[in-house]
């Protein structure tokens, strides 16, 4: 499936992405980044100021939603409160003048898939949250669409079963990482990075993506060029040859030196510091240390036998560091 996107004044600043058929795409980003607007435009509820949208081979930019062969699950489910479950699922078909026997057959099929068989006569007000979610999904499935546009639903398994191309919006980066085939990380109307969860996690393209994905977030150390490479607060930071070359190529700018908590280790030598916060989570412990380079969080597998105030050192391997231009936030190495 191919899509090219549009400029919406002040909301979306030039988006161009292509989604593969059968793919589960996630749009993730903080509030106000434009992901819901983008979704609305795919669905046809909003029109782009400029640019085109294609679904399959069709340019659907000027087509109303009902003609785009898509279905949508809304964040609030948006079930019709005055109709029962069966009528909710069948409403779209009714609007398209699908004959009654066919409508009923589809409702039965969808209800079976989502285990809604017993609930068909109930109204949304009489359903639990999870049941309402399934009805919302059922309504979308009843369209048998080319593209399903979702705002909030646990549908990875369902997606695998139906193989419908799906676009899913969330601000929750954990959901994004676990559910998506590919993720588009958005900020202030632009896509910062578009790739698989692995790409995004191991090679974030910008500082924003690096800090947004991953919890606890990546530690950032403000560093500047020094005689031997990079230094922060008078301490030299270890670099690989590749990183040095990249820095030279970029003109030795000021850099944000990023390290993920799991890439740091506790040792007897290295960067000195003392514990300020220790958070055990069961399988691992997150320890925050105060160091000459600022506050750094480390992930320690298992339990940590230490207390706040204890002195310890941090070590890491330079390959694990992510270097970002301090000005632009773009990845250098």
């Amino acid at each position: 499936m191919k899509k090219t996107f549009a400029d919406q004044v002040q909301i979306l600043k030039g988006i161009g992405i292509e989604i593969e058929e059968g793919e589960f795409l996630i749009l993730v980003g903080p509030s106000g980044c434009g992901k819901s607007t983008l979704l609305s435009m795919i669905a046809g509820l909003d029109a782009p100021t400029s640019g085109r949208i294609h679904i399959g081979d069709r340019d659907v930019t000027d087509l109303p939603s009902k003609d785009r062969d898509i279905a949508m699950v809304f964040q609030s489910y948006a079930l019709y409160p005055n109709m029962n479950v069966a009528q909710n699922i069948a409403f779209g078909m009714e609007m398209r003048k699908v004959p009654k026997p066919q409508r009923e057959a589809t409702v039965q099929r969808v209800a079976a898939m989502l285990q809604l068989g017993d609930l068909l006569d109930r109204k949304p007000g009489q359903l639990s949250g999870g049941q309402r979610q399934r009805v919302a999904m059922g309504r979308a499935l009843a369209r048998d669409p080319k593209l399903r546009v979702e705002m909030r639903a646990e549908i990875k398994l369902l997606h695998q079963r139906t193989k419908t191309t799906t676009v899913y919006v969330t601000h929750d980066q954990v959901k994004a990482m676990t559910l998506g085939d590919r993720i588009a990380v958005m900020k202030e109307g632009a896509v910062q990075q578009f790739g698989t969860p692995d790409d995004i996690y191991t090679r974030p393209a910008t500082r924003f993506v690096a800090e947004f994905i991953g919890s606890p977030s990546m530690n950032m150390i403000a560093a500047h060029p020094s005689a031997v490479g990079l230094a922060a607060e008078g301490i030299d930071l270890p670099l690989t040859e590749l990183q040095r070359a990249a820095l030279r190529a970029a003109g030795n700018p000021a850099v944000a030196y990023g390290l993920r908590p799991e890439d740091l280790g506790l040792a007897d030598t290295g960067l000195p510091g003392h514990f300020t916060i220790i958070e055990p989570t069961g399988p691992e412990t997150y320890a925050t240390l105060q160091t000459p380079l600022g506050s750094i969080t480390v992930r320690v597998p298992g339990a940590l036998r230490a207390s706040v105030g204890d002195a310890v050192c941090l070590q890491w391997s330079p390959e694990k560091a992510h270097l970002f231009d301090a000005q632009s936030g773009l990845r250098l190495a």
Binding site: A43, I70, M72, F74, Q75, A78, Y80
Partner: protein
């Protein structure tokens, strides 16, 4: 009022306002309805009651319908001038009725419906558009936008949306508007007295005429009975539907 209307003529003469009727009778009621004199005619309130009914029912239905559509559009769509229109409607609600008397007389005259039931219906519909639109607009603002987007995605046209989704969810505000409109139009005196013709006077005018027509004796019991007859429909509306009125006014956003 009730007590006085059940008294007979003799007891009225004795002048004790608060005493209970010694021989309660419905004569006064019968007279008020059928034979009391209102100016030159002596047909009681019945013809006026009929006029009021003929005027109120269409006026309430038409103004409520128009208000509902207007309110829906104003609550969900932004178009150039929508905010100005809303401000003007607000102004229209608070405008004193007397302001339109002269211009309306002219317009009704041009339309050829002055001094008729049609004229009364017209003026009440027009006057009713402002408050009904306001009521519905403020209610529909609480209707979740996503509901209408879902319907749009499902392929519902504007009118299908209105008929299948918006209207079924409008119960509370429909009650409020119908009751409000019924009460204000039924109780209106000003337009009733200015724009009605000889045979199209509503009950408020009839009541006024009845109370001010006297021969030798002032028949308070008949006057009271007449007043009660005039008030009965609105009282009935409140008794039957009053709780829906309160419910409608206090209804929060529709929970989907």
């Amino acid at each position: 009022m009730l007590v006085t209307s059940l008294k007979d003529a003799d007891q009225l003469r004795s002048g004790h306002l608060l005493s209970l009727p010694t021989a309660p009778t419905l004569d006064a009621w019968g007279k008020a309805w059928q034979s009391a004199c209102t100016g030159v005619e002596c047909g009681g309130l019945r013809p006026f009651f009929v006029n009021s009914m003929l005027m109120v029912v269409p006026a309430v239905l038409v103004s409520t319908t128009i208000g509902a559509i207007n309110g829906y559009v104003l609550s969900k769509w932004r178009f150039p001038g929508s905010e100005t229109l809303f401000a003007l409607l607000l102004f229209g609600v608070f405008m004193p009725m007397q302001v339109v008397l002269l211009p309306m007389s002219q317009v009704l005259g041009w339309l050829g419906i002055a001094s008729s039931i049609w004229g009364l219906i017209a003026i009440h519909v027009l006057a009713g558009i402002a408050p009904t639109t306001l009521f519905f607009r403020n209610y529909y603002v609480g209707l979740p936008d996503e509901l209408l987007k879902a319907a749009m995605l499902d392929g519902a046209s504007f009118w299908q949306n209105v008929r299948r989704i918006v209207l079924p969810l409008s119960g509370p505000i429909l009650m409020v508007t119908l009751i409000w409109q019924f009460t204000s139009i039924w109780n209106d005196f000003l337009y009733g007295v200015v724009f009605s013709g000889a045979d199209s006077k509503p009950i408020t005018v009839g009541l006024n005429n009845l109370a001010n027509t006297s021969s030798a004796v002032k028949e308070y019991n008949v006057d009271m009975a007449a007043a009660l007859i005039a008030a009965l429909p609105t009282l009935l509306v409140y008794v039957v539907a009053g709780k829906y009125f309160v419910r409608g006014l206090t209804a929060g956003a529709v929970k989907v």
